[in-house]
């Protein structure tokens, strides 16, 4: 994980080759048949089908993957939290509206509206939606990030919504309401601390989903565009080399697997850290000390 982030941040300055430079046959980037050269020598992991350095592209791909996944996840976390939080906390509020002397009591379908919207988005086939967007806009890694964010927020919204509903019924909220604490303060001081760890955990897990999604879109040609390196398009570009030079498919594939696994493990670790029920009292106490955010969950 750390290695990955390091690779993404400083890797490009360490590798020997420009990830987009195509070394010609005469420059040793391709063999006499026009095939990629195997690992060793100048090219530590060999070259790809256009004579570009594989290692440099893997490193450049980590940058693409992480920047797309992180920005998509950020969008998803913010939108999901807002939608889920508002729907859960506000419910379908009754408001009084008036025309002249007549007064009407109307329920504003805030909760219903937002959560049905979530259901609708969840029911859209994500890949098809992404391909449709790519067909209309010129696809790039940023349209991919936007599409991924536009789909991933639904999971966060549902989880936040459920958690808010749950918390809202707790005695301490009722107590706060009964002594006249303003809804805004209740939301910030008493509800948010219960929701925040969930958002962090699911955002972390969402990163791995976004990495896979980005790879999928790039594989299909609807994500990152040439010549920018992306693990998905690296797999796609070389799928016909699978029997002849499997490393060209396996290396970016392995990078995807390791990244996804890393973020999943991190997400699990965060969940454990935030959830005292899953650990011994002593462990939990240590973690409470270690993690300031945890103190707010101790009564849960």
């Amino acid at each position: 994980m750390i290695g990955l982030v390091v690779a993404a941040v400083i890797g490009p300055s360490l590798v020997a080759h420009d990830p987009n430079f195509q070394y010609r046959v005469s420059e040793g980037g391709l063999d006499a048949n026009g095939d990629p050269v195997p690992p060793g020598g100048r090219f530590l992991l060999g070259t790809d089908f256009l004579g570009r350095d594989e290692l440099s592209r893997l490193v450049a791909g980590s940058q693409t993957s992480l920047s797309v996944a992180l920005s998509a996840t950020l969008v998803a976390a913010v939108v999901g939290t807002l939608v889920g939080g508002v729907a859960g906390f506000a419910g379908n509020p009754q408001v009084t509206m008036g025309l002249g002397r007549t007064r009407y009591q109307i329920r504003l379908p805030v909760e219903t509206g937002l959560m049905r919207l979530t259901d609708i988005v969840l029911s859209l086939p994500a890949i098809l939606l992404a391909l449709a967007v790519a067909a209309v806009l010129r696809p790039s890694q940023w349209t991919a990030a936007a599409v991924i964010g536009a789909i991933l927020w639904t999971a966060t919204a549902r989880i936040v919504y459920g958690r808010v509903l749950d918390v809202k019924r707790q005695d301490f909220i009722l107590a706060a309401e009964s002594v006249g604490v303003s809804p805004a303060r209740i939301l910030v001081r008493h509800v948010w601390p219960h929701v925040a760890p969930l958002v962090v955990i699911y955002a972390t897990l969402g990163i791995s989903a976004a990495v896979i999604f980005e790879a999928t879109l790039s594989y299909l040609g609807a994500g990152t565009q040439v010549p920018t390196a992306s693990w998905g398009s690296m797999v796609s570009d070389h799928r016909n080399f699978f029997t002849t030079q499997p490393r060209l498919v396996l290396l970016p594939g392995l990078a995807i697997v390791m990244t996804v696994l890393g973020f999943n493990l991190l997400g699990d670790a965060l969940r454990d850290a935030f959830d005292p029920r899953q650990v011994s009292v002593g462990e939990a106490a240590k973690r409470v000390n270690a993690t300031s955010a945890v103190r707010t969950t101790s009564e849960a």
Binding site: F21, Q22, R24, F49, L50, G221, T244
Partner: protein
């Protein structure tokens, strides 16, 4: 025709000429089928299966213009003339080559007797007569065909006398197409043209029954031809099954009982099937990543075939638009900056192309190489033109392997002399729509395949002044009237040696203007099963599916 792998329906105006890996139409007749032997008494047996990346678009010979439709049409329909094993023109539905009048403008055909039109269920519809030939050619010129007029009505076939009146709707029959008697037809053209017999040998010249519908869908649903095979059934998007025509006039030319066209087959799976023997012939090139392994595999030596195509992959540059490309020095700089050796290696199948005409084409000039790879010289030329700091431009390619890779290689070669290129890959059909709009694409990388084996086909439909209007495929929007005058002389020159010299001069003149950078001469690589006993490429149309025999 343009080189492409995926088939499509053509836009209906314009000089089109689409890409086909296989050409025109003759079916195996006694004179053209090398495998046909005397044992005609035995009924043919066995099923030959062929895989294509794309589907048959239409079976209407007036419409079909793609890599899958033409070979399918050629099984069902026949033309007056076809090609022999040396790409020589031979009679098919005519009994001999036509008598040509002294002025070279009237061609008289004697028609073969005992030729029947047979429908899919194997019943004879009628015997072919001169009326059917006259009606078929007039049908091709009919502007009211559905869903659109034939893509060649306004181009190749417009030279028939009276074709303009038919196109304008003033007549339903061209005055130049005449029935002399039941077995004789004469065709008159408006100016001498040495390629007219080639034009008639394209599948567009297929003979249909006189009362054939104008709608391509009806013809496709129930094709009635004179050819060696009948369309037995069609599973939409999956397979077309052809069976032997029991009433064919030349049974010795029928070598198998059934031919299956498996369509929409991905080349990767087609290759696996061909290697394991589940498929007899793979009609598309294998994926680039597999080619070296295939060529190196000793166990496949007898089953892998390779041939150069009569085609050129090139990059056209907009010579008359409002961009730096309208400067000859800039175009010459670009031509000198591209490393064709490297691109040929990236593409895997093909040789570097120094000039426009490919080696198998008459008129090919081995000494034509005006712009060898020299990036330093290219930089000098660019500076001389006033673009020492380079400029930005766009390059369109198809999305088919390996075109985007070639685009990336060109991008880097031009970056080395300071030109920033944005590569825009478009699906083939979309790209065709882009490139018929004048000056829409500054540069485009695409391939041109022969429609017929004559050098005129590499100038008239794609570089001539007549095509320098919207809706045509003059991709460089190029018009040099001196070259055009030479082309007109060459078209009508009866002496073939003098004619070939004229074309050699013509293409050197075109290269001097540098509207195109020829990049590679492509090649075909075909994997066949062990069952196929006589696989061979045909010099005119690459594949000749009706002429292959199999052994169970």
């Amino acid at each position: 025709m343009f080189a492409h792998r995926s088939s499509h329906r053509l836009p209906h105006r314009g000089v089109v000429v689409m890409a086909i890996l296989a050409l025109a139409a003759c079916n195996p007749s006694a004179s053209t089928s090398p495998a046909a032997s005397g044992g005609a008494a035995e009924a043919p047996t066995g099923t030959l299966s062929i895989a294509f990346l794309s589907d048959v678009q239409t079976l209407d010979p007036a419409q079909g213009y793609d890599v899958v439709s033409w070979p399918a049409e050629r099984l069902i329909f026949e033309t007056l003339l076809g090609y022999g094993p040396e790409a020589d023109i031979v009679p098919v539905l005519a009994t001999s080559l036509p008598e040509v009048s002294d002025d070279g403008m009237t061609f008289t055909f004697a028609l073969r007797e005992g030729v029947n039109f047979v429908q899919s269920d194997g019943t004879i519809v009628k015997e072919m007569t001169a009326d059917d030939v006259v009606a078929s050619l007039n049908r091709l010129l009919n502007p009211n065909l559905q869903p659109n007029a034939s893509p060649v009505a306004a181009t190749f076939f417009a030279l028939i006398e009276g074709a303009d009146a038919v196109a304008a709707g003033d007549a339903t029959e061209a005055s130049g197409i005449e029935k002399i008697d039941e077995r004789t037809v004469s065709i008159t053209i408006t100016e001498p043209n040495q390629t007219f017999l080639n034009i008639l040998a394209m599948p567009f010249g297929s003979i249909l029954p006189a009362d054939s519908p104008t709608n391509a869908e009806e013809v496709t649903a129930n094709p009635i031809g004179t050819g060696p095979f009948l369309l037995e059934s069609r599973e939409s998007g999956q397979q077309l099954t052809f069976v032997t025509n029991p009433h064919y006039w030349n049974p010795a030319g029928q070598l198998v009982a059934q031919i299956d066209f498996r369509v929409n087959v991905d080349p990767t799976s087609a290759l696996q099937q061909a290697q394991t023997g589940d498929l007899d012939i793979m009609a598309d090139n294998p994926p680039a990543g597999q080619i070296s392994a295939l060529l190196a595999d000793d166990t496949l030596t007898d089953r892998v075939f390779r041939s150069s195509l009569v085609a050129v992959q090139f990059m056209a540059m907009d010579v008359s638009g409002d961009t730096p490309l309208n400067n000859l020095l800039v175009r010459q700089a670009i031509a000198s900056a591209i490393d064709k050796e490297n691109i040929a290696a990236v593409a895997h199948l093909g040789q570097p192309a120094p000039c426009i005409l490919p080696p198998p084409m008459p008129g090919y000039d081995p000494n034509c190489d005006p712009y060898p790879y020299d990036p330093d010289h290219a930089r000098d030329l660019l500076a001389e033109a006033g673009f020492a700091d380079g400029f930005e431009t766009t390059l369109y390619t198809t999305t088919n392997d390996p075109d985007p890779a070639v685009g990336a290689a060109i991008q880097q070669d031009l970056a080395a002399i300071g030109i920033t290129v944005e590569v825009i890959p478009q699906a083939f059909d979309v790209l065709l729509g882009t490139i018929v709009i004048p000056h829409e694409a500054q540069m485009v990388y695409i391939g041109w395949f022969q429609d017929f084996p004559d050098p005129a086909d590499f100038y008239d439909p794609i570089l001539s002044c007549a095509t320098n209007v919207e809706g045509n495929f003059n991709l460089a929007w190029y018009c040099n009237e001196d070259v055009d005058a030479l082309a007109a002389d060459a078209r009508s020159e009866p002496d073939s040696t003098a004619r070939i010299d004229m074309y050699r001069q013509l293409f050197n003149d075109v290269m001097a203007d540098a509207p195109w950078v020829p990049i590679i001469y492509p090649e075909q690589l075909t994997v066949v099963s062990e069952r196929v006993t006589n696989f061979h490429y045909h010099p005119a149309w690459i594949f000749d599916f009706g002429a292959y025999d199999i052994e169970e």
